[in-house]
């Protein structure tokens, strides 16, 4: 199992957490659960309520709508980030393609953590603003 420090190193790869300090990523690491998955396991289905975000540590996960592949996610890729922020149902299904390990952050735990650490909220907002600014600059 990963230590908190090792989880922090993994979480540094998540875009939306890129502006959160490592010290506060450690709090996120504490609520991030390491899960071992077998081939064929379904992390979530299309139209499911959004309950968690997944960071792939090892292995591959197929994101698809029915038979239509959307993408194949590999190590350091994230599935279902928006589940942490909105109530809209899942738009794709996430199926494990090979034996994998993922870090799972549950939405409720994440929201409680935001209430405790305003610095995490600020970091997430900074990352999102940066992302938006980048998009605006590209459009301009």
């Amino acid at each position: 199992m990963l230590t908190v420090i090792e989880k922090v190193m993994a979480l540094q790869n998540v875009d939306v957490f890129s502006e959160v300090s490592t010290q506060h990523l450690a709090h996120l690491a504490v609520i991030a659960e390491e899960i071992a998955c077998r081939t064929g396991d379904v992390l979530y289905k299309e139209a499911d309520p959004p309950l968690a975000m997944y960071l792939i540590l090892e292995g591959r996960v197929r994101l698809h709508r029915g038979d239509l592949d959307v993408t194949i996610a590999g190590p350091n890729d994230v599935c279902g980030t928006w589940a942490l922020f909105d109530d809209e149902p899942r738009v794709v299904t996430a199926t494990v393609l090979e034996t994998s390990r993922v870090l799972c952050i549950e939405r409720d735990n994440f929201i409680h953590l935001l209430a405790d650490y305003v610095e995490i909220t600020q970091g997430v907002l900074r990352a999102m603003t940066k992302h938006l600014r980048g998009l605006v600059e590209r459009v301009q």
Binding site: T3, S21, Q23, A115
Partner: protein, 889 residues
């Protein structure tokens, strides 16, 4: 010496050409000035001198004003070489005219040389201002000035040596050659984007008048010029009286200026940069007025030549060295366009006009009133007094100008008030038709405050799909509802939304002016929970004592047994401050429904130790936190003892306790927070400092003990230094573990910087410190430099460490920061191992864990032993990391 001569390699390319160009320009001036004087006196005589000084003011002022306008429309890197080339051409023409023309050309040449001296110097300083930021300027302007003094010494010596065998007129060609070389050097200075074309809007005078700082600078420039003219005339008269022959006078002038320029050179080289860097511009500006005042007293008190020496020392010794460099620093916070339009105007027009005015006043005083030359000192001393007063105001204007420069990054949002006149009401009525329910709700809220009866426009909205709109429509309507709409409102008593039902009941009771208690009692006992909650909601929101009297023990017990959470919430709202029903509220604290518990926290106004402890426990639960915080804050000072106890006994509450204390604006809350700050960890200290800042903003009478804040600031500055030092130590360390450690150190250092500025906000203006902080962390080098310069001028210098704070946090000069910090903070960290041991032995858990994670098999026995010891640490983060490292080893 290293601290005095502080030039960085990246600055050399900009600095050296400027220093050399300035040296050459000053050499040319000191070649031209003796030539000008000699030619004028030889051709026109000494009696004409005051008149030509007045002519300098009249013609020079007009020409420089025109030149200021021309500057506004030209690029800096074209303007300066272009001007210099024109000046070379002028010299060639003058040289020719001397051979063919009479007296008028010497008048013209005198005025031209005066104008040239001021203009060329001013242009070079303008260029220096454009290529160096505030921090660089403070270190480097002294060197540029030194070059100028060296140039004036060399120019004067050369003139004395060459005049006899070259001929005075031919010195003009030598001067032209010096300007040509200077032009070549100026062209090599990289001006970059600062050479953008400026707009020509507004004149130089308008530019000066638009800025408090520029007005003060201009005022001081005028005072300097007048006092200098008086001193010059006194000096000439004394020397004239002291020596009989022309040769003796020339010899004295030569020696005097050589020694004084030598002194000025040494002072400029060794003292000016140090004084500017160490004491700031405020101190540097006092040298000239104080020395000139002493000189004026010297003339009054000392007879003969020594009085003459005294009166000229200040002018020659300091005016073009430390005073000039300080004036250039004063221009730094002035916006570049404003600076461009005003600087030459101040240096030339103001200087010329003031010189002419000084000459005129001396003529009037001596010829009109028979004032003797020593007594002119009284006039000088009066002006110096005004000058010193102006300096105090000038320093304030300088700091304000920096404040404005920092402010410019802020967006100003204007407040506005909605006046509900006919036009506004028409717009709001139109907005009621919007498809966006939030727009409709906002318009309804505003219309609710209008005097007009708008019931007919609002009434249709009681059938709106959005419950909030329905509720607001009922609130905004007058009771004079058309009869056909009354059944509609009655129908709303069965609406699904409780707020709508309550507003409908309120509306109907208003309409019938009913105070019928029996109807309410009946509703409260109705079998339908909807009717019960409507009546309860009405009482909780609009009920007076009579209506609240309907709520008795029997009713409360029936609600507690009803199983409808909403009913219990409304019940709590009604009985919150009814002491006789308090035992029920204590029971409702344990309700299974979170909303009921939240309502108990919000409504309950019962103070006891047990209740306070219960509230503190709720602080730990995110779902109740905000309400618990507000409830504790509502208790005011009475909550403080419990908060103190909880701080020591419940570490999990430490983030929350300062937030509660921040809502209790009393001195004891401030003292409590300061007390806990003394030994707080980094995570806790931020919350404590933020709470202190909030208290200070909420009530400026609250006092933070200066000495305690100073001690904490000192400690934080030490932490900042240590983090900077550790980052330097680990700079070359590679690998993922060290990357994480370095990242953590950077974050920790940046967090400490934020805390330093928040602490400074307790002693100075919080807004100023926040803006300075934004400047310091900006990616823009100029903003960083401006912020540091602002700090330098704002922080008092009673504490030496506070004076070096701007150096310590200068991200552009880390070596300097470490070198300065060494004198104040621990300096025993040398190697990677020192750093890791320091962090592992420290109390900062996250840094400790990151440092532990860096240990590998090749490390020293001391480090391995630390890892083994950490396996039994109290905190799981440390034990887990240590175990993992042991596995790896």
């Amino acid at each position: 010496m290293n601290r005095i001569i502080d030039i960085r390699p990246t600055e050399l390319r900009r600095l050296m050409p400027l220093v050399m160009a300035y040296t050459l320009i000053l050499s040319s001036i000191y070649v031209l000035k003796p030539a000008r004087n000699a030619l004028f006196l030889d051709q026109l005589g000494i009696a004409q001198l005051p008149y030509v000084l007045i002519l300098v003011a009249l013609i020079g002022g007009g020409i420089s004003s025109l030149y200021s306008k021309l500057m506004g429309s030209m690029r800096l890197n074209r303007l300066i070489p272009g001007t210099f080339i024109a000046l070379i051409a002028h010299l060639a023409i003058f040289r020719y005219l001397f051979t063919v023309s009479g007296g008028w050309i010497y008048y013209l040449f005198y005025v031209w040389v005066n104008l040239y001296g001021v203009l060329a110097v001013s242009l070079l300083w303008l260029l220096a201002n454009a290529v160096f930021d505030a921090r660089e300027a403070r270190r480097l302007f002294g060197f540029i000035g030194t070059g100028g003094i060296a140039g004036s010494v060399v120019g004067g010596l050369f003139t004395g040596w060459a005049a006899n065998w070259l001929g005075t007129e031919n010195l003009l060609l030598i001067s032209a050659g010096l300007i040509a070389a200077s032009t070549g050097l100026v062209c090599t200075v990289p001006v970059g984007t600062l050479s953008v074309k400026a707009s020509t809007e507004g004149g130089a005078l308008q530019a000066v008048m638009s800025s408090a700082l520029l007005k003060r600078i201009a005022g001081m420039g005028a005072l300097v010029a007048v006092v200098a003219v008086v001193a010059d005339i006194q000096f000439n008269e004394i020397v004239n009286a002291a020596f009989e022959t022309k040769d003796e006078k020339t010899a004295f002038f030569g020696r005097f200026f050589a020694y004084l320029n030598g002194f000025s050179f040494v002072f400029q080289l060794l003292m000016t940069p140090w004084i500017l860097k160490r004491f700031g511009v405020g101190c540097a500006l006092f040298f000239l007025p104080v020395s000139m005042a002493l000189g004026a007293w010297g003339v009054l008190l000392m007879a003969g030549l020594w009085g003459g020496v005294a009166v000229k020392v200040g002018d020659v010794g300091f005016r073009h060295s430390i005073h000039k460099a300080a004036i250039e620093v004063l221009f730094l916070p002035v916006p570049s366009e404003l600076k461009k339009r005003s600087k030459v105007f101040i240096d030339t027009t103001v200087d010329n006009l003031a010189t002419g005015l000084g000459a005129l006043v001396v003529l009037i005083l001596q010829a009109g009133f028979g004032v003797l030359y020593p007594h002119l000192s009284f006039f000088s001393l009066g002006l110096v007094a005004v000058w010193l007063w102006n300096l105090v105001r000038l320093r304030r204007a300088y700091v304000d100008a920096f404040r404005v420069a920092l402010d410019r990054r802020e967006i100003q949002i204007d407040d506005f008030r909605v006046q509900l006149d006919g036009a506004v009401i028409a717009v709001l009525v139109q907005a009621l038709k919007s498809e966006n329910p939030r727009h409709v709700a906002y318009a309804l809220e505003l219309l609710g405050t209008a005097d007009e009866d708008l019931t007919s426009e609002i009434a249709p909205l009681i059938q709106h799909a959005d419950a909030d709109v329905q509720r607001l429509a009922l609130l905004a309507m007058r009771p004079s509802l058309p009869v056909d709409l009354q059944p509609l409102v009655r129908g709303l008593l069965r609406d699904e939304n409780t707020d709508v039902r309550v507003e409908a009941l309120h509306f109907l009771r208003r309409q019938t002016l009913s105070a019928d208690l029996e109807a309410l009692r009946h509703d409260l006992q109705d079998g339908d929970p909807k009717i019960r909650t409507t009546a309860l909601g009405y009482i909780s929101r609009y009920g007076k004592a009579r209506e609240k009297g309907l709520i008795d023990k029997a009713f409360v017990e029936s609600v507690l047994g009803s199983g409808v959470p909403e009913e219990r919430v409304l019940l709590v709202r009604v009985i919150g401050n009814m002491k006789e029903l308090a035992p029920f509220l204590l029971e409702l604290r344990r309700d299974a429904d979170a909303e009921v518990v939240r309502e108990v926290i919000r409504s309950f106004d019962y103070r006891s130790a047990e209740y306070t402890a219960w509230l503190l426990d709720r602080l730990a639960e995110p779902r109740y936190r905000i309400d618990a915080r507000n409830a504790l804050a509502k208790m005011g000072e009475a909550a403080l003892p419990a908060l103190k106890t909880a701080w020591d006994s419940s570490p999990r509450l430490r983030l929350q306790i300062p937030r509660v204390a921040a809502e209790i604006p009393v001195q004891r809350a401030v003292d409590f927070l300061l007390d806990k700050l003394k030994n707080a960890s980094s995570g806790d200290s931020l919350a404590l400092i933020q709470a202190l800042c909030k208290l200070r903003v909420s009530d400026s009478r609250l006092h933070c003990d200066e000495d305690r804040v100073d001690r904490i600031l000192m400690a934080q500055a030490g932490v900042y230094y240590e983090m900077t030092r550790l980052l330097q130590i680990f700079e070359s360390a590679r690998g993922k573990a060290f990357a994480l450690l370095k990242q953590a150190l950077r974050e920790y250092r940046d967090g400490t910087l934020e805390q330093i500025f928040l602490l400074l906000g307790l002693q100075y203006s919080l807004g100023d410190m926040y803006r300075a902080y934004l400047g310091i962390v900006s990616s823009d080098k100029t903003k960083r430099a401006n912020a540091l310069e602002f700090l330098d001028n704002v922080l008092d210098r009673h504490h030496e460490w506070k004076a070096i704070l701007p150096v310590l946090i200068d991200a552009d000069a880390v070596e300097d920061a470490l070198s300065y910090g060494r004198n104040f903070f621990r300096d025993d960290l040398r190697t990677c191992e020192d750093g890791m041991l320091y962090l592992i032995d420290g109390n900062e858990l996250w840094l400790k864990a990151c440092a532990l994670n860096c240990v590998d098999a090749g490390d020293s026995a001391a480090l391995i032993a630390r890892v083994q010891a950490c396996r039994t640490h109290a905190h799981p983060l440390i034990t887990e990391t240590a175990e993992r490292v042991v596995e790896r080893l």
